[in-house]
């Protein structure tokens, strides 16, 4: 039976209790460091930080409702090639799923990394996190965020990021250890579950008190997931109604300035060099004029719809719905809604669930001789 331990919360609150947990974890001789969000400044953005000295964990805050980037790309950097040492990384469920996708593409490795998954209630996009923070101290604001969620919802008109509102995977899959926030009473204790043999060994060695099992987490998770699925389906229906033709798609994307931030921010856009940044798209002046003459006018910059459709062909089977594309867009183009809607189709088309299993090969890396006969036209 897998271990479930208990992180006791005392008068100093859940953030300090979690810092204590990670300090103790870092004392394990098999670990050289832990990557987790740290408030490096009082009012700034908490950023993923690789901490090797336990005393530097006193501004760590895995409860912060900030999500400045999907850390899968960072963990990919930290694990591409052996160091001979092992680290732990604290990630949201969508970050783990994106990382698993990168591992399948040999852009990361699980060999020397322990994945610690946080149950995730959702987060703000960058602009709203700043607004939410106001002039409060970061860690205090995080505690208030979780308190208001367990008291029926966010106050003051604040809403989670669009991606989080429709995310049906609020609990981690494929982690070595899971920090169970759903259903937990952050005034008393947080359960930690070992979910792999490696996690079991580490957690067992920490000597934490055991947590007696109850179904509070399962219940909270089921209720949250049901709400999310409903919101997701409604969102996809809306997007479909707004993008039923190429013309409508072009209108949906009409604010796009081809900055390609959404591609840079996307953890599963895997190409080393994006074709849209190469000479192929260095058009000549006379080409623009020729294209304009053909139709009478030409929207500039060109190739916007082409870019987005090509990106969908690359990343949609792997899209984990993290919403970093929308978080990075300077023009409020509702990209995560669009990409998730298309991803739902392509993922269903290949029966593929990104990030949930290392054994499921990315659809375009494999083929079978006897499949998809209906995709081939035959003469009647």
């Amino acid at each position: 039976m897998a271990t479930t331990a208990r992180i006791q919360i005392d008068g100093q609150g859940p953030v300090v209790a979690l810092q204590g947990f990670f300090r103790r974890l870092l004392e394990d001789e098999s670990l050289s460091g832990v990557m987790l969000p740290v408030h490096l400044f009082r009012h700034g953005m908490p950023m993923p930080t690789l901490v090797t000295r336990p005393d530097q964990l006193d501004r760590a805050d895995p409860l912060a409702p900030a999500f400045p980037m999907n850390s899968a790309k960072l963990v990919s950097r930290l694990t591409r090639g052996a160091t001979g040492e092992r680290i732990a990384v604290v990630m949201r469920p969508c970050e783990i799923r994106a990382f698993i996708e990168l591992v399948k593409l040999n852009q990361g490795s699980l060999e020397e990394v322990i994945l610690i998954g946080m149950d995730c209630p959702g987060a703000f996009d960058n602009a709203h996190y700043k607004e939410f923070l106001g002039d409060r101290e970061g860690m205090a604001a995080s505690v208030q965020f979780h308190a208001s969620l367990s008291n029926g919802g966010l106050a003051g008109g604040f809403e989670l990021a669009p991606a989080c509102r429709v995310c049906e995977y609020p609990s981690p899959h494929g982690a070595d250890m899971v920090i169970g926030l759903h259903g937990a009473d952050l005034g008393s204790a947080i359960p930690v579950m070992a979910t792999s043999a490696r996690g079991e060994a580490l957690l067992g060695a920490m000597g934490l008190p055991e947590e007696s099992p109850d179904d509070r987490r399962e219940k909270a998770l089921a209720a949250l997931t049901a709400t999310r699925v409903q919101a997701r389906d409604a969102m996809m229906e809306q997007v479909s109604a707004r993008t039923g033709t190429l013309e409508q798609l072009a209108e949906y994307l009409s604010g796009c300035v081809n900055c390609y931030n959404c591609r840079v921010a996307c953890p599963v856009c895997y190409c080393k060099e994006c074709v849209f940044n190469t000479d192929v798209f260095e058009h000549k002046p006379w080409q623009y004029l020729g294209w304009a003459k053909r139709k009478g006018s030409l929207k500039l910059p060109t190739d916007t719809v082409f870019y987005h459709l090509t990106r969908m062909a690359h990343m949609s089977t792997a899209c984990v719905g993290c919403g970093q594309c929308s978080n990075a867009c300077p023009n409020g183009v509702e990209v995560v809604e669009l990409f998730r809607t298309v991803a739902a189709r392509t993922q269903a088309g290949f029966d593929y669930l990104p990030g949930l299993s290392l054994d499921q090969a990315p659809p375009l890396t494999v083929f079978k001789e006897d499949e998809f006969q209906d995709t081939v036209s035959h003469l009647a």
Partner: protein, 141 residues
């Protein structure tokens, strides 16, 4: 059906099979409609999805990808990879109202000139039924 509408088709055809078949169809003077532009590829496995997307955004009403029959690909499995890519494209493009019949994959061997001519004729008929793709007049593409 709109008989006046002349659909434009871009066909990415494999050098080893369908291209030869198209040639054969031509030299045997089979009746073929002039709506197709052939792009000779070394294998259907080389047809990048963005070629198809670009074609449709640039005025093609339909895209044909045609290669060797299963088991006959000169690079062993290019045609199987093409099949997955076409499936992917159909899933994406149909979200935006691009009918699955507009992106078509067929296997036509080198000796099948007649089959090639029939494939093209069928495709043209289907596209006449579907009408022009709305990208033709759109400045925003």
């Amino acid at each position: 059906m709109n008989q006046d509408f002349e659909p434009a088709i871009l066909a990415f055809v494999c050098n080893w099979c369908t291209y030869t078949a198209a040639d054969l169809a031509g030299t045997s003077r089979m009746t073929q409609q002039p709506n197709v532009r052939l792009v000779r590829m070394m294998c259907t496995g080389m047809v990048d999805p963005k070629y198809v997307i670009k074609s449709l955004l640039s005025g093609a009403d339909g895209v044909l990808i045609s290669g060797c029959h299963p088991g006959d690909c000169h690079y062993q499995n290019g045609n199987y990879k093409a099949r997955r890519r076409v499936r992917l494209l159909n899933e994406i493009l149909s979200q935006f109202g691009i009918d699955r019949r507009r992106v078509r994959l067929t296997w036509v061997g080198a000796s099948e000139g007649q089959e090639f001519a029939a494939t093209v004729n069928n495709f043209i008929n289907d596209l006449r039924e579907l009408g022009p793709l709305d990208s033709r007049g759109l400045a925003a593409l």
